[in-house]
Symmetry: D2
Subunit: 366 residues, 4 copies
Amino acid sequence: MKNTFGNSVSLTIFGESHGPAVGAVLDGLAPGIAVDEAFIARQLELRRPFGKISTGRCEADPFEILSGVFEGRTTGTPLCIVIPNKDTKSRDYEATRALARPGHADYTAHVKYHGFEDYRGGGHFSGRVTAALVAAGAVALSALRENGILVGTHVARCGGAADRDFGDLREDLARLNEARFAVLDEAKGREMQAAIEAAAAQGDSLGGVLETAVAGLPAGVGEPWFDSLESMLAHALFSIPAVKGVEFGAGFAMAEGPGSRWNDPFCLEDGEIRTRSNHNGGINGGVSNGMPLLFRCAVKPTPSIYKEQDTVDFLAGTEAKLRLEGRHDPAVVHRARVVADSVTALVLCDALALRYGTDWPGGLAR
Amino acid sequence: MKNTFGNSVSLTIFGESHGPAVGAVLDGLAPGIAVDEAFIARQLELRRPFGKISTGRCEADPFEILSGVFEGRTTGTPLCIVIPNKDTKSRDYEATRALARPGHADYTAHVKYHGFEDYRGGGHFSGRVTAALVAAGAVALSALRENGILVGTHVARCGGAADRDFGDLREDLARLNEARFAVLDEAKGREMQAAIEAAAAQGDSLGGVLETAVAGLPAGVGEPWFDSLESMLAHALFSIPAVKGVEFGAGFAMAEGPGSRWNDPFCLEDGEIRTRSNHNGGINGGVSNGMPLLFRCAVKPTPSIYKEQDTVDFLAGTEAKLRLEGRHDPAVVHRARVVADSVTALVLCDALALRYGTDWPGGLAR
Amino acid sequence: MKNTFGNSVSLTIFGESHGPAVGAVLDGLAPGIAVDEAFIARQLELRRPFGKISTGRCEADPFEILSGVFEGRTTGTPLCIVIPNKDTKSRDYEATRALARPGHADYTAHVKYHGFEDYRGGGHFSGRVTAALVAAGAVALSALRENGILVGTHVARCGGAADRDFGDLREDLARLNEARFAVLDEAKGREMQAAIEAAAAQGDSLGGVLETAVAGLPAGVGEPWFDSLESMLAHALFSIPAVKGVEFGAGFAMAEGPGSRWNDPFCLEDGEIRTRSNHNGGINGGVSNGMPLLFRCAVKPTPSIYKEQDTVDFLAGTEAKLRLEGRHDPAVVHRARVVADSVTALVLCDALALRYGTDWPGGLAR
Amino acid sequence: MKNTFGNSVSLTIFGESHGPAVGAVLDGLAPGIAVDEAFIARQLELRRPFGKISTGRCEADPFEILSGVFEGRTTGTPLCIVIPNKDTKSRDYEATRALARPGHADYTAHVKYHGFEDYRGGGHFSGRVTAALVAAGAVALSALRENGILVGTHVARCGGAADRDFGDLREDLARLNEARFAVLDEAKGREMQAAIEAAAAQGDSLGGVLETAVAGLPAGVGEPWFDSLESMLAHALFSIPAVKGVEFGAGFAMAEGPGSRWNDPFCLEDGEIRTRSNHNGGINGGVSNGMPLLFRCAVKPTPSIYKEQDTVDFLAGTEAKLRLEGRHDPAVVHRARVVADSVTALVLCDALALRYGTDWPGGLAR
């Protein structure tokens, strides 16, 4: 199903950049989860553009919960969140409708939808739709947190600067979840923001690498083969626009060097089975092993740049020059981190519900 | 669904390393596809260990098609292929049953299945199950080829050596599909094999990077968001044991450098819309753009090494030393490439059937 | 997935009787289908209570399309329709919250959702949610009609009266789709309405049998076994509250009498293969045979009656008496017919998209 | 997915009547369920033709479990059961290949599969495939029984005779599960068999009504709307060839008479919440209410009759006469009951696993 993902807990998303609203339907989550509207608003806030390093389009993202919540808690029935679109300037896009923006989905949307696509601002392909992921993800993150499972993401690399690795994981995750620009080393974060500003000054853009960690996931969650945690997480992560790579644990580095380096020896810590290293990112055979989940996403630079680009006019069938106007982010990697947290939480809630039943979480905590 | 993947065209896999058989049920493929048993056998042959660089376990992989083929062609109903297990030495594994092999799924399987797992040779987690993927994938590859779509994979990096990039794509793919050790530059292939042999001599193992290309996929295939080509392909690729990273186009490299470098400018070639570069790997917004698909998988070194390793005895609850015996590959990356081709073909057949209907392929070719 | 149904074309529903809104997300329908808001409103009107034979709750059912429509046509991306709840009297329900209404889902909802359910007016179990099915179904019905496929339902039996059988099918379907109380024989319809009024006068309720026909479905649509047209249609029809039976063609009557009576002999009509009778309801082996689809649903009487009933107080754990107040329909069968049309259309659009691809319909008509 | 059904517990079926084998892959069932091969054989035996009232084709149905069982118990990974076809007389069918048998899927298969279908004995549409449902269903039935849930079906009506209603349910179910011809009143069973023999003597066939009951299902299982127990069960039941109607509880009878008659008043029995009557068949709002599940299937007469029938030759495009030869059952209703038990068990295992997690059953019983 195209815009629905998940098995026992599933998410359906809808909306276009310049239509009335974007939104999501979160189904199958246990009843009784406290729905914290302030936390949803905070997560949406973290997704929004800010400061000099983001687009001028800046909506307050008010949202409305249409169903699935009663007296402040989930009912167990579908929870629909709608986020109206307000600050849209549709005229920016009409003139250049048939000039396929390189790196964007204008051309592929046109081929796929035969010209009936809503082409304004990328339509349904717009990053705007990730606001729906974030709103629904906030509820999933709350469900995890109630059960002692923490998720967090930092900008591990951007503009030549590299953040430090995770240390005390729960402390680092708590800090990241408060941060506006999510880095563990704030000096590195300032370097990254400076690099983004420099790219913006040249009408260009930057990407980066996001690293996500999950603390507290019990061992035994996930499936071998097609519903492996890696498969399910990667499926959801690659749904985030601009993500072009996903790796777990040491990832591509494991393609080099001998097996003796990358195997994670098992040991006992306070009687619990752990591994000394975590090169496999907390997953063996698709199933969680009780260590933190660890994975990274490559986020490409925003394709919307102000430099003149070669393209085609796909209606006229001619080559053309494109010079974008309007408001565009010089980077989205720092905004995408809350999207990564959100889809991670959705996948984990699904995997946990499959393993522990539809009453999870809650059967555990309440 | 755990061992089933796909929407209109789906695959279900089953089997354990030391059980009676592994196999697959391929459902939803169009009727009328010629089923070439010699090609299936050839693909299984490419997956099998060979030479000094592979395990001594070497089965001829006879297979039996139990359903779905009539008079040499697919019927359109489920095609079940079974590959019996013959050359199994179960005693190798029993003694070390509770000694979790680092990097393997012994421990996670034990937690997940509460001790009821078939622990011999990795059971259902064994790479042996990929024979079923390859057998079913051969039929999917035939379906694609009948419609002018070619898939192929080479070992892009292994043991410090890097293969050359793709050149004339159709020619390169045809060559790779004949090759025993799939490289475009045979001298590099010899380097890689020497490196694997050297690792084996030290009781160690190597990984590598696989690069897959697809020629001939029309534009407009795939969906935005959850059923994006990237999501669906990554989902299937991460189901392959030992794959720990997947990237599309320039992938993680796009996290560096400016947008102006990574955007692929559109142009006209013989009246067709193309892009000058292909940093996005043939996919924009989750939908194919008519350029070749291009993606890479990081394959970790075989975790089965002969060096002594620290581990735990998870039944006794004690720390322990593990020294593996038996037959183990010093590398699987060169064998995994035919698995990558197979799951790629399955995902594409599904995406094409969704777009063009259950008669695809065939409506086009016949 | 619990509130999502369909494969290539899917529907997700949400909402509670007394929450902010009910709604639906229709995904996967082809781009370019004209979206006729007047027709949606008309369908919602047909679902609404009317006259003496329905509840006093009478909302105008304004709806809002949040996504998936651009310049009056479907875009091919998810179409979200929201229908706000306005005329709710929540206080009617609170006092009797723990008094399980016989025939309703109060008790099962309480067990399933552990007391977190929105119990007002049946919450997510309320027939109110069918408004969402009807709104989305209207778009699916339009898509079918554009391709010459007509769907319609009449009240075949109610209160001891039986409507006549279908005659000239397209003419009858067109008439039904205009009718307020859908019968082919208006005298019979008056008898039925009189019977409903008589039941209402006694504080009681009535059910009935709905018969649905589909004209114009080509042969070859549907699958054997689990995705048979019968399986998919019955799945969706049994989702309609109060439906307790579904039969295709002659249905339960076929359990009696010999095979020679119920087989449908094939013949040629103007060179087309047809069957002389249609006891199998247009389906052989799960696949359409080119004859009209024909099936019936048993709709039970509204369980909300004004007579005193025995029940339990499931919070107090005591037996109790229940006397309902508030507004309740003495029958829903005549309102449910437009729901039956709607889910039928959704299932057929899915089956047609699977067979003919995501461009169906439109590839055919445009 | 066409030949796969279920969410957390799923079944995939394959095979043709005259191909090498039929079979099934059962995935997602909990680890540790005892797999009783004698019980599987017994269930297959109950499905087989017997005595004068069945076809002469009579195979011993040896089966082979290829995966998913280790040391006599389920491993939790996919369980593949294969049942080879042996007693096939393919020549019976070839001559009449293009003469569409009325009531069969020959013509629809031809349209759907464009002539590539295996037309021998109905191919994949053959009732032979139900042997795979029965073999897999036997494992599901065992899983339920281990947890105190009993399933059983009787021939409620056939040839003008009607069996008695269920009395002491667990006793009746135990008896049915031992019976060769499943009735509660053996005198009625003899009447039914005599009626079948009489129809056979005239070259004709009979259908009947099956009634299934389930004892021991806890309240709170199932979902509102699309995954209602009624929707899921009906989906699976309509996959059984020849089933043309399904009704729950009082079913079509509820379409008549007032609501006050059909509501099931709640009461307390030994402190447990029960209903005095069970007209709703143990389901309210799609969710189990703790009462026995009760439903009926209408099974049409075998369409294979020996009387001359009108048909068409769909290759020649001419009208034709058809006189069947070969071996055909004069009734399948008595054989289909074990198929009804099987699909019921599969659906319930899925619903229970969704509610209680993948360890169900076992978490409860072990």
